[in-house]
């Protein structure tokens, strides 16, 4: 949670800097954000490849539960597609791109900004931060009405780090490995799905 706050405050600082023209305008038109994105992708790949424990752990899972990341992805995309009917001025692919951030707001908002502009990028940022916050706040209710897997699905890509403690508490310790595995797979799918929906 503290890490998220730090990241969000950088966004707010940047917004204030832009609002009051503290930084020369041509700075934002450069290729800086593209290079930074490429570097970020390297670190994402590196951290996944470097963590041998997650790779080992998922051999011990109940075979049916392995479907959970798929269920999360399909459910999220279906929900986002339905919502696009309500938001008449957003296209189906816009909503799907925002939805397929799965709570991974830093990566998805940067990708979407790069492909679709800062407005949809900001929607992606807010939407995916909200997803993390909703999961943290409503985990007990989700367990009550949708079963023990629900907070994991709701948490999306965040279930191997920021929302893991809350899942361990309300779904149970048995679900920690499932949660890490789920976060790992959904995390991997984010760059692919976001880029896919941004480019069709």
């Amino acid at each position: 949670m503290k890490g998220s706050l730090v990241i969000v405050s950088f966004f707010i600082l940047g917004a204030l800097a832009g609002l009051f023209n503290l930084i020369p305008c041509d700075f934002t038109h450069g290729r800086w954000s593209y290079y930074a994105l490429a570097a970020l992708m390297f670190f994402v790949g590196f951290s996944i490849g470097n963590d041998s424990k997650t790779l080992k752990n998922f051999r011990s899972l109940n075979p049916r539960i392995v479907l959970l990341p798929l269920v999360t992805v399909l459910g999220t995309l279906a929900g986002s597609a339905l919502v696009s009917l309500l938001l008449s001025h957003r296209t189906l692919t816009d909503c799907l791109a925002v939805g397929s951030g799965f709570g991974y707001y830093s990566l998805s908002s940067i990708f979407i900004t790069e492909y679709k502009g800062a407005e949809l990028g900001t929607i992606a940022l807010l939407s995916n931060i909200a997803r993390e916050i909703i999961t943290l706040l409503f985990a007990p209710l989700l367990v009550k009405y949708f079963g023990r897997l629900a907070p994991i699905s709701a948490g999306g890509a965040t279930t191997m780090d920021t929302t893991l403690p809350i899942i361990a508490r309300f779904s149970g310790q048995n679900f920690v490995i499932v949660s890490i595995f789920h976060g790992f797979v959904v995390d991997l799918s984010v760059p692919f799905l976001v880029v896919l929906f941004c480019s069709i």
Partner: protein, 62 residues
């Protein structure tokens, strides 16, 4: 690294008049998409949970 990127996005947003003046509608849209996405995924999770539990109960009976 993420800090820098989010700072850059912040600059983009802060200096964009259209976004700053429509911030509340953007926030609302973001929230609507999130609620849809979360509901879709937890409904899926519920179906999977029932399926797994049904299997466990049948195993217990045998």
């Amino acid at each position: 690294m993420i800090w820098v990127l989010l700072f850059l996005l912040g600059i983009d947003v802060g200096s964009n008049q259209a976004i700053m003046s429509g911030l509340h509608t953007i926030g609302l849209e973001a929230l609507v998409i999130t609620v849809g996405a979360v509901l879709g995924s937890v409904v899926g999770a519920r179906l999977l949970w029932k399926w797994i539990n049904k299997d466990l109960k049948e195993e217990a009976r045998q």
